[in-house]
Symmetry: C2
Subunit: 147 residues, 2 copies
């Protein structure tokens, strides 16, 4: 079980100046920085300054702000001299979703034609569910949706 | 070259009632609906009502709003009876990034332990760039960042 406490959080340590970072953006509530394991050159992340492990821990206004900052960073990557034919944004929320650092982070990375990056799927992905099943699933989600 | 005009946009046609959808959320500016090719059962998307093809076309406040709605849908999926051990969010912006429908959409999908979904990488992903290179790339992005 990976630790979610701020004391042992690598991003909290980074934000406290414990490790060098390559910063692209900074404001009162978040920081944009380069990842050390990029999909392609120019791969950045936006992280909140506060130790908030999961997507559900983000106050909605902060969530919205992080995405707006990510949008700005995406535009900057596109307009920079970094090779970029497209952009992906990605969030891994929870260990089963590929989250490795338990301090929320939103990835922004450039894509280049033929860069070899992509998804691998279980076969069931390609089984298009019937509309009735999609309606059932939508109903289950709507039941739990808070407005 | 795929069409980016609203007339031939499948999402615009959907929003105009031309096709059945399984809706999870709706407000004045966006709709949440089930995808027809889910990674896992419960895979939803948030799309703006307006035909805005790319991430850069979204007014920042709308971008922030879409992410807040996606956060709500993620929470609803987690609290529903749909199997969900984690959540991914994903944006493909541009054909090279895997965008197939040129009407912006933000994916939200549940992940389940052992679901077989994941990334495939080019080998260079695993080459950690030296800090000096990360600093250079961060500098290129900062130069183009509008505050």
């Amino acid at each position: 079980m990976l630790n979610t406490g701020a004391k042992d959080c690598i991003f909290c340590q980074i934000l406290q100046g414990g490790y060098p970072i390559s910063e692209v953006y900074s404001d009162d509530v978040c920081v944009g920085l380069m990842t050390v394991e990029p999909v392609n050159a120019g791969h950045a992340m936006v992280i909140p300054r506060k130790h908030l492990p999961y997507l559900s821990d983000l106050p909605p206004d902060l969530a919205g702000h992080l995405f707006k900052v990510a949008q700005k960073i995406a535009a900057a990557i596109k307009h920079s001299d970094i090779p970029c034919d497209g952009i992906n944004m990605f969030v891994a929320d929870g260990e089963a979703a590929g989250q490795e650092v338990f301090h929320f982070h939103l990835h922004i990375y450039p894509r280049i034609e033929g860069d070899g990056f992509g998804f691998k799927y279980d076969k069931r992905h390609f089984n298009k569910p019937p509309r009735k099943e999609l309606d059932r699933l939508a109903g289950l989600i709507r039941q739990k949706l808070t407005r």
